[in-house]
């Protein structure tokens, strides 16, 4: 699979991770789910409710998700993925990320933020048909430039 995203949105989500450093940032990606992969059209910032250990955990409040989902419907878009940052940790999914991932067919984008600067960004596609066979697959991020 590959995930398509504009350079501007790609920049936004990486910048979000730098802003919240040393805490994790998180947000929702809206767009269209196509056969070849997800196409991201909008990134929406979410508040990380895991104030108890925001440096290595994130959680998006369901109320916030409901309102984001409503925004998506109004724009005829779907939730196609989520992004979060790993402060001073590699841009790989952790066992926590995997256990807490339930949105099959969505892209989970992780940016590593090292001493406050966004370094690597990777995306993982949650494949499978349910909790028993779900798996993260590496997917390519196709960054395209918007034309003025």
């Amino acid at each position: 699979m590959e995930m398509k995203i504009s350079a501007e949105i790609y920049r936004q989500i990486r910048q979000h991770g730098e802003e919240t450093y040393p805490h994790e940032c998180c947000g929702v990606l809206l767009g269209k789910a196509l056969d070849r992969g997800n196409e991201v059209e909008v990134a929406i910032r979410a508040g990380n409710t895991r104030t108890d250990s925001a440096h290595n955990r994130y959680h998006i409040a369901p109320q916030e998700l409901i309102s984001i989902q409503r925004q998506a419907r109004e724009r005829s878009l779907d939730i196609v993925g989520f992004y979060h940052s790993h402060p001073d940790h590699p841009a790989r999914w952790s066992s926590t990320d995997f256990n807490e991932a339930h949105w099959l067919g969505c892209s989970y984008v992780i940016t590593s933020v090292e001493t406050g600067v966004a370094s690597e960004t990777n995306s993982f596609f949650l494949a499978g048909t349910g909790e028993d066979d779900k798996q993260f697959q590496d997917e390519e991020i196709l960054v395209w430039s918007e034309r003025c």
Binding site: G47, S53, P62, H84, S94, T96, D97, H102, C106, E131
Partner: protein, 483 residues
């Protein structure tokens, strides 16, 4: 009504984003949905038929778990249901390896806990969880007494106790962990002795200190659950914030006169104390138990509700008081429940918290630093200590003693004052003489300070008797009972 299906589940709902069903209740709507799309069932429900922990179902903007009727809530055609799987994760790589093995029980313990062990909801595993659990009781007073007693009896393995006070005879009317012989002894030592006598299998960790912003995080870090048995707003906000910041549930109880409250705050998805009360009341508005009195049995009732909630959280059974405030009215003997919601704008547990470390809670609650022993002026009111007043009285100096306590307090003890309860002062002010100096007193000096401020404003010459009738009993005349 409409049911919104999230992207990942659409493959099991014929690729539809919205499914329309006819139903009278939330439960029926979900049944209709899974009837039409049977494949959805295993994604929404566990094998026991319970909604999966990571699936949230919202009726319009409300989580159905927090609706008072839950699945039985009636729905209209214009309502919509949203199914929202949770979103969470994190870089925490240290795989939460297998949970550490639970401690085993010896034969003495098996005999002791047999009535728990034969309950399938507790059983051997539950009892081992209790033994592994570490619970902190903040305060060993009215609420802390029954709370600590029952947790010890139930087999909670480690109990932390925080208190700095000594047992006073006025405590014994409700603080059942202390006895007559303990008067004058540190509450911690007295409590430890009773708890050890009840259950020698447990560890007791004593913190002989006032809970402060400077030590709360350090004390909390060794515990799984915190039970709040405090009697003042500063400590209550401190306990709440420290629980939110350290990610530990706050099992809350409070009492006043004949009424009590209980809830479970600061769980991962539930509201916290600040979601309910963002700001403390102005100081002095809500009297403490020492000022307002409390029915001795009431902390027993509320403390045991807290103990029950602690045990349920440890065992993971039942419906905890998360998102619900239980109101206990002992005179009417009625229990009511208020629904509480997590406030997304809560300064400590909201989505953009502004309180990210413990603050100065005395300042937050508007508490002035305690006045020095001799403070001639407080808020413009001249203070007079009991010794000086006694001398003045003995010397025959003409001043008028005004007692602003309640008539029932006057019946317990009085020192010859003229009684006008604080609440009646405004309408009875005409009974007072503007040409005579008035010395005002109450039980401890708080209410009389307010009365003095009012009278001075109204043009009277006033002084406040510092320490009130309590100081009089302690320093001048021990025949006056202290209450």
């Amino acid at each position: 009504m409409k049911i919104h299906i999230p992207t990942p589940l659409r493959q099991f709902a014929a690729k539809q984003a919205t499914v329309t069903v006819e139903a009278a209740t939330v439960g029926q709507a979900l049944d209709e949905l899974t009837l039409a799309h049977p494949e959805l069932k295993k994604h929404l429900y566990s094998e026991e038929g319970k909604l999966r922990a990571f699936v949230n179902v919202y009726l319009n903007d409300e989580d159905i778990r927090y609706l008072s009727e839950k699945e039985n809530t009636a729905v209209k055609e214009s309502d919509s249901l949203s199914i929202i799987p949770s979103i969470a994760g994190g870089s925490e790589m240290a795989t939460l390896a297998e949970a550490p093995a639970l401690p085993s029980l010896n034969n003495d313990e098996i005999a002791r806990y047999s009535r728990h062990l034969i309950l399938p909801e507790v059983g051997m595993e539950g009892q081992q969880k209790l033994k592994a659990a570490k619970v902190l009781c903040v305060g060993t007073g009215g609420l802390g007494s029954p709370l600590a007693f029952y947790l010890a009896a139930a087999g909670v393995g480690t109990l932390g106790l925080v208190d700095f006070d000594v047992v006073d005879s006025s405590n014994l009317q409700r603080q059942i962990i202390h006895s007559t012989k303990d008067v004058g002894r540190p509450k911690l030592d007295s409590a430890e002795e009773k708890l050890k006598a009840l259950n020698p299998h447990m560890n007791i960790v004593k913190y002989n200190t006032m809970l402060l912003s400077a030590n709360a995080m350090e004390i909390f870090k060794d515990f799984d659950i915190v039970a709040d048995g405090t009697d003042n707003f500063q400590t209550r906000y401190l306990v709440n914030d420290a629980c939110v910041l350290s990610g530990k549930p706050n099992v809350y109880g409070s009492i006043f006169r004949f009424e009590g409250q209980a809830s479970v705050f600061a769980t991962e998805h539930g509201p916290c104390y600040r979601c309910l009360y963002p700001e403390p009341p102005p100081p002095g508005l809500v009297p403490s138990c020492a000022e307002g009195g409390v029915l001795g049995i009431l902390p027993g009732l509320v403390g045991i509700i807290q103990a029950t909630e602690v045990i349920k959280l440890i065992l993971g059974v039942g419906d905890p008081l998360i998102g619900r405030l239980l109101l206990v009215d002992s005179l009417g003997m009625r229990f009511r429940e208020l629904k509480l919601r997590k406030n997304p704008d809560c300064p400590v547990c909201g989505t953009h918290p502004t309180v990210t470390a413990l603050i100065d809670y005395d300042q937050f609650c508007g508490i002035q630093p305690a006045p020095a022993a001799y403070a001639p002026l407080i808020n413009g009111i001249q203070q007079i200590d009991v010794t000086s007043y006694k001398q003045q009285r003995d010397a025959g100096r003409d001043s008028f003693l005004l007692d602003v306590r309640e008539p029932h307090e006057f019946k317990i003890a009085e020192i010859g004052g003229y009684l006008i309860p604080l609440g009646d002062l405004q309408k009875r002010v005409g009974e007072l003489d503007k040409n005579r100096e008035i010395v005002v007193h109450c039980k401890m000096g708080g209410r009389s300070q307010k009365a003095a401020e009012f009278l001075q404003q109204a043009g009277f010459k006033v002084k406040n008797l510092a320490g009130g009738i309590t100081a009089w009993s302690e320093q001048i005349d021990p025949r006056i009972p202290k209450y």
